[in-house]
């Protein structure tokens, strides 16, 4: 069963796709988490571990967007994608951790790489 088998897009197929194929498989984890978090203390050690797992996971999400991009980012040369994040993070050291400056720096590198890089 593929999406092509659903035929032309109707309101009903769109609703089915968004809610059954998108929402349910995502929401499942959030609801499971509510159950798993019951009785956990804010300062417990297992919570430290869970938070570190989540941090490593989000770092991997960032790394994958940069190293194996989909969509428009794929058109930017690799040095621009990596250089933007590295230079942006470097500015945090010199700006009292201004995230605005870091993001703008990274975006500028990406713009330059996309304009002149190829």
């Amino acid at each position: 069963m593929t999406f092509t088998d659903l035929g032309p897009v109707t309101a009903l197929t769109a609703l089915f796709v968004v809610l059954c194929i998108g929402w349910l498989p995502t929401e499942l984890w959030r609801m499971l988490a509510v159950l798993a978090a019951r009785g956990l203390d804010e300062n417990s050690e297992i919570l430290v571990w869970v938070r570190l797992v989540a941090s490593a996971l989000l770092a991997a999400v960032v790394a994958k967007i940069i190293l194996a991009p989909t969509g428009a980012i794929a058109a930017i040369p690799l040095w621009g994608r990596i250089g933007g994040v590295l230079l942006g993070l470097l500015t945090l050291r010199y700006t009292r951790k201004s995230i605005v400056v870091a993001v703008l720096t990274g975006e500028t590198v990406l713009l330059l790489a996309g304009t002149f890089g190829r």
Partner: protein, 247 residues
């Protein structure tokens, strides 16, 4: 110190909700809106109506899952395989939501509002919630979080809708810059929030082992693998550091 059992008056709750709304008008919401315009663009490309994209932001509330879903629709992929891929990509919400719930929920029996709070957890509300909630009095945290998150999800839905009509019109470099807000914001927010050596190591491990793991572990499982390995290695360091401090 605010007493834990003290219940807040409705006026206090309303004030906390409004403060959450106001605090949400900041850089993160703009960056999330940039990302969500690209989701709207994909929705249009695959021939779905605009409302379906907007609804996907309100319900799925996870840009990577939305991209996988609509990308699969465009490719005419298998429906069960897509549901599975979406499910794997969203598995990060398990550790993320477990980590933030103790900051939000109130003592006593579980309420429907707790489930709504869990629904509102996304990368943006997680990073900002962990940073902001500890400073909010315990009994006002749900109200504050609802205020903060409702502005973020509302703006994200609006941006998805707008993106449906404009994303296809912008030059390729600008489209790339809109997508690039995601890695830029999350890397800088997480690095600036890192306090302990373990925090740093979790980020570093997660980042550095990704290129290797990507080659070996099938897509979808790679994040889970990296999260568990990187997070556990960092936790081992956390334990060792704690023992050192105590002795």
């Amino acid at each position: 110190m605010v007493a834990v059992s003290q219940t807040a008056s409705s006026a206090e709750k309303r004030a906390a909700y409004l403060r959450g709304l106001r605090d949400a008008v900041d850089l993160p919401v703009l960056l999330l809106m940039a990302t969500m315009t690209s989701v709207g663009g994909i929705v249009r490309d695959v021939g779905f109506p605009a409302w379906a994209g907007t609804l996907s932001t309100l319900t799925i509330w996870a840009a990577p899952a939305q991209v996988i879903l609509f990308g699969a629709v465009g490719a005419g992929a298998s429906i069960p395989a897509t549901a599975f891929a979406v499910c794997l990509s969203s598995a990060r919400f398990l550790p993320m939501t477990v980590a933030i719930m103790p900051l939000i929920r109130q003592p006593g029996p579980m309420r429907p509002l707790t489930l709504l709070a869990a629904h509102l957890v996304s990368m943006t509300t997680w990073v900002e919630g962990l940073r902001r909630l500890p400073d909010v009095p315990l009994n006002l945290r749900p109200s504050y979080f609802f205020g903060y998150a409702s502005l973020i999800i509302g703006a994200g839905s609006f941006a998805t809708h707008v993106g449906y009509y404009i994303y296809g019109e912008v030059p390729l470099v600008v489209a790339a810059m809109l997508l690039y807000t995601t890695p830029m914001f999350f890397s800088s927010a997480m690095v600036s929030a890192a306090r302990s050596r373990a925090d740093w190591l979790a980020l570093l491990f997660g980042f550095l082992i990704t290129p290797l793991v990507m080659q070996v572990v099938p897509a979808g499982f790679d994040f889970l693998f990296i999260g568990l390995v990187g997070g556990t290695l960092a936790f081992v360091v956390f334990r060792r550091d704690k023992v050192k401090v105590q002795s």
